[in-house]
Symmetry: C2
Subunit: 326 residues, 2 copies
């Protein structure tokens, strides 16, 4: 059995708890929290400890799955925990991956542990598909579309506008852009041509709705480069119709072969997820299995999904995999 | 530079010649043929040798890409050449993969070489997607659909019917079945519900068309379990409208998460290929890079796509990949 620890018990941590329960070769040993453990109630009867107790359980946990946020938690947490445990995180700030990789690599090499970073679906499964497709058809180009799904960052940005009580923002890929890419025509697409944004906003009583709408659609970086629709709804409607955290998206690569580039090939990968955090947790858990196996082989240092043989994610043996699904 | 040899110069071999020409880190050193080399005219000015001359070039070739057929060539060819070279093949008889793996593993371990088998899209990229998806969402099920595309085996079967001069058979996935699977409902589907078969047949003059049609649609294993449509066309029409070798397909996995299985996730991978052999050749060539790197690391024995870290397929460094496409 692979002994798993969960570090951080929010949406992601709860999803990992579920995913580990479905893994025939894993046992969840401990949940660590920065809150008062007495206030944390897991679904299973896994013991909950204070975050600072983690070092004392070094010998009881094979892989620690880090369920913190990318903005402030993981840049500190992954190297610090990587000094003690094999770790897996879902660091998703694309621009800062090289520096995060370097910090985790240093910590894990010093400790002789495996640090598997940026595991999830983007970065993660989408990265895999960009890598496979562009390696196989180098004479081509790939496109990534996100949605339809809830963007937490954009929802938060709306909530910070005066007069806004709550909000939910959906990122939606433009169907015409998807079709153009699928046709293999390798179009040049602007930000506005690829995605639209749809916002459901609960305003405070008496708030200036026109002013809120204007503040949203002109917001730099978040909305100004997109076609954005704003709907004002009641708190009840928000709770009833927008409680889920769905997401998904598409990686589409088209490339040519033949001496006259006469043949076009289109590779498409897509996800349609009812729950973004639960799916990400499932990916983290499968890669925890890989981190354990690599550690058993004596590997150490930082790695990403691009470095992991696919068979290492499966509870099945190589022989079973070749027989059943190759 | 990675020095590549091509063993067998049919459609696949020609595709590899093109793909290697596009790889910045590869050089095509030799083409081997069982025909008279004087009758083989490559597109590039690569020297052509007799198949039996291959052993004498052992030290000049890093990876030999085997472009023979699965029925009779590869079961002999891959172990035999694996005794001399790192080899990559596209062995695609699913049921015989375990025994082919064992034979190649034995040969390559004795020789200290890498033998990467069953590389292509199914088996190959489709296998990867079945493995990733079922590892991440073990509480789920995957479906594979093929087409729309030309099935060489089914076309050949029609050509063997008396009175048939030429034929082309397309395998077509049933749209309603695709939609049912995409909905996440995990339907049970019969062979007939998943695919239809469409045949374009050139009959000999005076042939009994009714008899040919009946022979096709009732043919055991090939057609009897499918809804099959037969069109009789002229030789000119066949040449004009059915000269290409397109193919493709879909791997769709749906799975559930949540303590009440309340969330459904759908992972879909699809290929739309203008030229089946040229695309397969592109996959073989990317995996030849991986075979070379694994050999340089001292690895040996048989492997499949499930054993290969994705980054090994790319001409780019790990650092570039993390920066550009993670």
């Amino acid at each position: 059995m692979i002994h798993i620890g969960i570090y951080g018990y929010g949406n992601l941590g709860r999803g990992v708890e579920y995913a580990v329960s479905k893994a025939p070769d894993m046992e969840l040993k401990a949940i660590f929290t920065r809150r008062d453990p007495a206030t944390v109630h897991p679904h299973t009867n896994t013991p909950v400890y204070k975050a600072e107790d983690a070092p004392s359980m070094k010998d009881q946990i094979d892989v620690m799955i880090l369920c913190g946020g990318s903005a402030t938690d993981l840049p500190e947490m992954t190297p610090a925990l990587g000094h003690l445990f094999n770790v897996v995180d879902s660091f998703d700030t694309h621009a800062h991956i090289p520096q995060h990789f370097a910090a985790v690599d240093k910590a894990c090499k010093e400790a002789g542990t495996v640090g598997l970073i940026s595991v999830g679906w983007d970065p993660g499964l989408f990265s895999l598909n960009r890598a496979y497709a562009s390696s196989i058809l180098p004479d081509g180009s790939y496109y990534t579309f996100w949605g339809k799904g809830v963007s937490q960052g954009h929802s938060d940005a709306i909530r910070r506008i005066p007069g806004v009580k709550d909000a939910r923002q959906y990122t939606i890929p433009v169907e015409a852009a998807l079709e153009a890419v699928r046709s293999g025509s390798a179009p040049e697409l602007t930000t506005r041509q690829k995605h639209t944004r749809e916002c459901f906003v609960v305003a405070e009583e008496g708030a200036d709705l026109k002013a809120i709408e204007n503040a949203i659609v002109t917001m730099p970086n978040y909305f100004d480069e997109y076609d954005t629709t704003v709907h004002f709804i009641s708190e009840e409607e928000l709770k009833r119709d927008h409680a889920g955290i769905p997401h998904g998206g598409f990686v589409i690569h088209s490339g040519k072969t033949g001496w006259n580039e006469e043949n076009t090939h289109v590779i498409e990968y897509s996800l349609k997820l009812d729950s973004n955090p639960e799916f990400t947790s499932s990916v983290l858990t499968a890669y925890a299995r890989a981190a354990y196996r690599l550690s058993q082989e004596g590997k150490n240092g930082a790695m990403t999904v691009l470095d992991i043989p696919p068979a290492y994610l499966s509870a099945k043996s190589g022989e079973q995999l070749r027989k059943e699904l190759l």
